[in-house]
Symmetry: C2
Subunit: 202 residues, 2 copies
């Protein structure tokens, strides 16, 4: 565990996942340099964002919207890819549609875990730690319990970490897993850039 | 000019426009108590926002979206009214649709003039003053010129101040004028609460 990892492996992992240098290095150290496990780890941690900072620019794409039949909830999402060719691809359009309706139903607050403001994350962690302490858990496991609850919180509030609301159709996969799969089949960087969600009376 | 105005007139003007007490009072003083002129004045100043602060809560309404056929520009808007009855009214739905497509085409930055951050407004005014000075205008008219350009800037960037892009259909009326007309026919406070606009590659 935590041996040295090569710069080439870090670079490779970053290209595959869009993760930052420190995240990619940490994942490879934790998995003894196993690339597949490191990718899984990054995905679980919600860091596998093939992101703006990716080497290849994702500046094409589609804007799509979804409004509930009653007109009281609406969502809009922008998904980027690299070429106009992929933007006009049916699988890409279908993905963008699925994400828009998911956002309307699931109500995420952030695209990726990295978008959660540091003070929000710290405030949540503090509450989870205090909860664990209040439940009389031994001090040495309080941090672990708090981390577990933080992970759950991210699954509930971060789009990429959420399982798609239509679990049957998507085999319980998270949005990040769906994104990674589309990225693999299209061979392009696919980035969920931003979304908005409006609900009447909210 | 600037005589005393009755509390009843201020109240009446506020109910018609949603303007704040000081704005309504100021407008009536400036127009010697002429209600129609005061309403026009408030409209020009972008303060006639039948707003959140209105006495009657506008907590019903519709979310509507518009996406250009190429999927590269999308807009979403939330418009509030007071009752579910009006929210299901055809005129209301038509208004919401017209606003969504207008936003996609015109690309406003703010809903109302009051939403322009103070430092943005000051920075713009400073530029306009410097421009007027640089053009060699007499010092005593520089402020007037800058104010005129500020008004134009608001018309270009503030949704309520913009004439609807479909000028033929809407007789060149601004979004605020369309909103006020709908408010009059429905007898309810109509509030454009928020919007979002996404453009690929922007």
């Amino acid at each position: 565990m935590s041996g040295e990892v090569s710069a080439a492996a870090v670079k490779d992992l970053r290209e595959r996942t869009g993760a930052g240098i420190m995240d990619a290095k940490g994942a490879l150290q934790e998995t003894d340099g196993d690339m597949d496990k490191a990718m899984d780890l990054l995905r679980v941690k919600g860091q596998a964002k093939a992101a703006k900072r990716g080497e290849r620019a994702a500046s094409e794409g589609l804007v799509h919207t979804y409004v509930h039949h009653n007109g009281r909830v609406g969502a809009m999402v922008e998904v980027n890819c690299e070429t106009d060719f992929v933007a006009r691809n049916d699988d890409f359009a279908e993905f963008v549609r699925e994400i828009a309706s998911h956002i309307a139903a699931a109500g995420p607050l952030y695209v990726s875990a990295e978008d959660v403001p540091e003070d929000t994350r710290e405030a949540e962690l503090r509450v989870f730690r205090e909860q664990a302490a209040g439940e009389g858990k031994p001090e040495e496991v309080q941090a672990k319990i708090a981390e577990g609850r933080m992970k759950k919180w991210l699954e509930e509030n971060v789009l990429l970490n959420q399982p798609h609301v239509n679990a049957d159709k998507h085999d319980g996969r998270t949005i990040e897993e769906m994104r990674a799969a589309l990225s693999a089949t299209t061979g392009e960087n696919v980035v969920i850039r931003r979304f908005a969600r409006f609900q009447i009376g909210e």
